[in-house]
Symmetry: C2
Subunit: 138 residues, 2 copies
DNA sequence: CTTGACTCTGGACTATAGTCCATACCCTAA
DNA sequence: TTAGGGTATGGACTATAGTCCAGAGTCAAG
């Protein structure tokens, strides 16, 4: 596979060209080489790596986590368990976030339900009332 | 109620003193007055307003949204419906976010389940395999 | 040989929600 | 009067994930 320039890689990965350079600064995606004039050169592996990054991001991993996973994935001594650990931690994280949001949503629904809405004057707004109430507000 | 200084307000609202100044820069929480020497002075209303902000934040509203709600809440012409609209939009937003996270979590569980884990070599890792796969990646 | 497209670099800027800092002034109690 | 705590200000810095820009160099086609 012929070497490709940064623009081609960016197109292949469907990302902004500056994003590729950003990933390089973050040590996530280094060029295989540079031409004599300093142009970055990438291979098919870079495309796969870039797609890895985008896919993992889509699954909620941060670039930091992705960096660690990439480190593991290129470490010949590493084992499946190392990666699986990340995935399982991420699953737990997401579940916690969902549960948080459900609580928030439930609370919001409750106070919104009680609010008359429409052209009722603000004094009757139970949402504002709730926000202004004197309870322990974390 | 006697005027209070910024430190007292911060303690009453359980926030950092710089956070109060930050809210001022964002036009969310202006002091009622300044002493001759320039000290900010706050009233009990400020405490209620600060608590409003924190409570609404806890419910997932951004400072921008909170600012708009506060504007409405001090506008004598405003109606319940204006506030209720915000709450309902926020409920929809949160529900969408939950649904996104559930999708992500489901996908992650599926690929993690298939992964042998433990000391299995990385070539068998279905998580990495998934990330490296050539599918359309968003 | 020139033109246009591409790439290089470093640094600035976006959004969000703060936190921290130095320097200087103010206020109160001993 | 002096020590200490509180406060003022502007600006820098954090984290995350980029995006954009200017000025300069490179490359390939006509």
């Amino acid at each position: 596979m012929a070497a490709m320039a940064i623009g081609q890689l960016a197109r292949a990965g469907n990302v902004n060209i500056d994003t590729v350079r950003y990933y390089e600064r973050k040590n996530l995606l280094l060029p295989d080489a540079r031409t004599q004039s300093g142009y970055r050169q990438y291979s098919g592996d870079s495309v796969r790596r870039l797609r890895f990054i985008r896919k993992a991001q889509g699954l909620g991993f941060s670039l930091k986590e992705i960096g660690k996973m990439l480190d593991i994935s290129t470490n010949t001594d590493a084992e499946c368990g190392n990666i699986k650990q990340y995935a399982e931690k991420k699953i737990t994280d997401i579940q916690a976030r969902i549960s948080d949001l459900e609580k928030i949503c439930g609370g919001l629904k409750q106070i919104a339900k009680a609010c008359p809405g429409g052209d009722s004057p603000l004094e009757n707004c139970t949402i504002l009332e709730h926000f202004y109430k004197n309870e322990a507000s974390q």
